[in-house]
């Protein structure tokens, strides 16, 4: 989620621009904390089903790594497509 979201800030006074950018930064920090929490929740739910032992098994660890990596790559690709749609030059099939 980048600054371009809000279009042209130049019409604002110096002080308002600072206030706006801080607001965006605050929102981005909160959003990335939430993303972190839901990524853990999703990969734990998908990868960990057995509670015979108290420590993560080899297979579970691999599954969590792949789940997290796939989600991050997925999320980046969605971001690209989303900004294309936002700026109106959607890819034609």
């Amino acid at each position: 989620m980048d600054k371009s979201m809000l279009g042209d800030l130049s019409s604002l006074t110096e002080e308002d621009q600072v206030k706006m950018t801080t607001m965006i930064d605050q929102l981005q920090i909160r959003d990335s904390l939430r993303m972190y929490n839901s990524l853990v929740e999703r990969c734990f739910t998908d990868c960990v089903d057995n509670f015979q032992r108290q420590t993560l098994g080899k297979q579970e660890e691999t599954c969590v790594r792949r789940c997290a990596e796939k989600f991050l790559k997925h999320s980046m690709r969605v971001g690209l497509r989303f900004s294309e749609l936002n700026s109106g030059k959607a890819t034609t099939d």
């Binding site: 989620m1 979201m5 809000l6 308002d16 206030k19 706006m20 607001m23 965006i24 929102l27 959003d31 939430r34 993303m35 839901s38 998908d46 990868c47 599954c63 790594r65 792949r66 789940c67 990596e69 796939k70 989600f71 790559k73 997925h74 999320s75 690709r77 969605v78 971001g79 497509r81 989303f82 749609l85 959607a90 890819t91 099939d93």
Partner: protein, 74 residues
């Protein structure tokens, strides 16, 4: 509108977009990605599915927006 309201509106607009992006991301992950996580790369089929899923989600967002008509908040 005074400055207070402008900032208020800007904040809600951003919260709306962040939530839209997160729901789009979660929904298309559920629709397109195989939960067995056999490898850590996205394969060709998954990539195509993601592109089409984002496009269709966008169309549904606009369609529901029209249905909400004047009620549409944004």
């Amino acid at each position: 509108m005074d400055k207070e309201q402008i900032f208020g509106m800007a904040e809600k607009e951003m919260e709306y977009r962040v939530e839209l992006f997160n729901k789009l991301t979660q929904t298309c992950f559920n629709k397109c990605i195989d939960k067995k996580y056999k490898e850590n790369e996205l394969n060709m089929g998954e990539n195509t599915c993601i592109d089409r899923c984002v496009a269709k989600y966008w169309q549904v967002t606009n369609l529901v927006g029209q249905l909400l008509g004047s009620q549409r908040p944004m």
